[in-house]
């Protein structure tokens, strides 16, 4: 049995559909009930939904053998897991954003508001730019509007929220998409099963990528 942690929300539902298409469906998952774990003994898989930022923890600690997590989470928390596949889903960019006419005042540290302090720190240290990190948990766009920060480092999908708040993406740090991750020990002891799932998903994502 391969235990799979899926991220709750829209991305997770899309990811589950991909697993289903690859032959690893689990009909029980569509039933409306309060069950937390869904199992398909025949296909040898069981699924559970967790908070997207927790998927990597479940996989790293071996509570899940496989999981699907955004590259943003993997870069921020750097869990010791295998990254087997780019699922080419949930595509977006990690960006620096701020007022469209923003000009960096290099005479003082740049104030950066973000949910991703490690990514922000890594990016600016690669540019040797001193920054003051303001760690927020949500509504990041508000920070530059209220003068809390100069810029933000956040995920940008369409840029619509930014635009509505008179902000614009200024620099792209890294492209983001959903990745299939595996626990290092499960990868070894359930190698045949995991390799089969990964290959089936790869086939599908390659096909969809060609469309």
């Amino acid at each position: 049995m391969v235990n799979i942690a899926l991220p709750k929300g829209r991305l997770g539902e899309g990811v589950y559909a991909l697993f289903e298409k690859a032959g690893y469906g689990c009909p029980a998952i569509h039933e409306k009930n309060r069950k937390l774990i869904f199992e398909n003994a025949e296909a040898g898989v069981s699924y559970f939904w967790v908070k997207p930022s927790d998927v990597a923890i479940y996989v790293e600690r071996g509570a899940a053998d496989l999981g699907v997590a955004g590259k943003d989470i993997l870069l921020e928390y750097a869990p010791d897991v295998y990254e087997l596949l780019d699922l080419n889903m949930g595509r977006c960019r990690m960006c620096v954003a701020g007022p469209a006419d923003f000009e960096d005042d290099t005479s003082r540290p740049l104030r950066v508001a973000t949910k991703f302090p490690n990514i922000a720190r890594g990016y600016y240290s690669s540019l040797s730019r001193e920054i003051d990190i303001i760690h927020l948990n949500g509504s990041i766009e508000l920070a530059p509007l209220l003068g809390l920060s100069d810029v933000i480092v956040d995920i940008v999908e369409t840029g619509k929220t930014l635009l509505e708040n008179h902000l614009a993406p200024l620099e792209t740090i890294v492209p983001i998409s959903a990745r299939l991750i595996a626990n290092q020990v499960s990868y070894r002891f359930k190698n045949t099963e995991i390799a089969a799932i990964s290959a089936a998903l790869e086939k599908l994502t390659a096909q969809e990528g060609n469309l």
């Binding site: 923890i57 790293e60 600690r61 071996g62 928390y77 010791d80 897991v81 295998y82 990254e83 087997l84 596949l85 780019d86 595996a182 626990n183 290092q184 020990v185 990868y187 070894r188 002891f189 190698n191 390799a195």
Partner: protein, 363 residues
């Protein structure tokens, strides 16, 4: 697997430490006891060798900065005085561990062999690693890889230091898609990029995988590395229950290791429980001219193994009333102990685990 000392007298890691020591001494490895701390300088110079990098320090009475040892190997090398040294140890090391980044005391058992490292020595150490795993679990995996092979591949790739580190990190993640992207970005020729990708995806029994590996060789250094792994694998007589697999994601810091590296895994744990390899480069960096090979078993992980049987606190719980004669209680308990039972005597029942409960009446 239950060890002979796993009868409740020892906790799991103590029992395992005993069994491992018995195994290592049966191969003539001498027990080596080391000091709990060392001058901080020793670790400062080789900081990247010490996992985690954070070290607990304190000032000694003479003003010297000392460190609680975060690692055993450096101390062993420092004490090496020539010839062939085969030692085994059981020590606590102090490191910041895991996501919590708090210092923890980690019990480690292992062995080190310093001197001339020939094919026999490597086979002996690998056999001992496999036997150690078998003591821990009936079903285990020992993964092996060669630093020299990667050294040859990096030579062929001729990338800058930053890109080399990125390549190694992605290989460690088995991240074939990002390896491909990185190679494309750095204009690495397509055949070379394919070798990196293949290496990330490669996993399986060493004997079969070695054939695939030899097809990936691009220079003599890589061919020689595959040859050495092949000879070693052919020599090994690994007991049933332990599979030897080839896997390049286990590679450690290339500055310290040379040749063979390996890691051991058992089901039920989320990380490797055994880690080792040839660290001749580290020995030479410490100014000694010798080869070296060794491994460590992380005993702290044993407590995370599922279905760890909890033994009884005592075979008999002897309950006596408020009015019981203490002399009689002593006598009764002594009588039962004499027949080989462990006995705990007290007034009231508690939540402990006992074989049976005996109540002393008012007789």
């Amino acid at each position: 697997m239950r060890t002979e000392t796993g009868n409740g007298l020892f906790e799991r890691s103590e029992a395992m430490e005993h069994s491992l020591r018995k195994l290592y001494t049966s191969y003539g490895y001498r027990l080596y006891k080391m000091s709990k701390f060392e001058p901080y300088d020793l670790y400062l110079q080789h900081r990247s060798f010490v996992t985690g990098g954070h070290i607990l320090t304190f000032t000694d009475t003479d003003g010297r900065l000392m460190a609680l040892k975060p690692d055993v190997t450096l101390s062993v090398i420092k004490n090496y005085r020539g010839g062939q040294q085969k030692i085994c140890y059981h020590e606590n090391v102090y490191r910041d561990a895991g996501a919590s980044h708090e210092f923890r005391e980690i019990p480690q058992a292992g062995l080190e062999c310093i001197g001339e490292i020939d094919l026999y020595t490597q086979a002996e150490v690998l056999t001992l690693a496999a036997e150690s795993l078998r003591l821990i679990s009936e079903n285990a995996i020992l993964d092996i890889a060669s630093v020299e092979f990667i050294g040859g591949l990096l030579e062929a790739t001729s990338a800058s230091e930053g890109v080399r580190q990125e390549l190694m990190r992605l290989l460690h993640e088995k991240n074939a898609h990002n390896l491909h992207q990185l190679c494309r970005r750095e204009n690495v020729p397509e055949p070379l990029a394919r070798v990196w990708q293949k290496l990330a995806q490669m996993y399986g029994p060493a004997q079969t995988m070695l054939q695939e590996l030899s097809a990936l060789c691009l220079n003599d250094r890589m061919r020689q590395a595959v040859g050495e792994l092949g000879t070693l694998c052919a020599l090994l007589k690994i007991a049933p229950g332990v599979s030897v697999n080839l896997d390049f994601s286990i590679l450690q810091d290339l500055t310290y290791y040379n040749g063979l590296v390996f890691k051991g895994f058992v089901p039920g744990l989320h990380a490797s429980i055994l880690s080792g390899g040839r660290y001749g480069n580290l020995v030479r960096k410490l100014g000694k001219n010798a080869g070296a090979i060794g491994f460590a078993v992380y005993l702290d992980l044993l407590s995370q193994l599922p279905n760890a049987e909890r033994g009884v606190d005592a075979d008999v719980l002897l309950l006596y009333g408020a009015d019981a004669d203490p002399a009689k209680v002593l006598e009764k308990a002594a009588e039962m102990r004499a027949s080989g039972l462990s006995v705990r005597a007290q007034r009231q029942e508690d939540a402990g685990h006992y074989g049976r409960v005996v109540r002393m009446g008012g007789d």
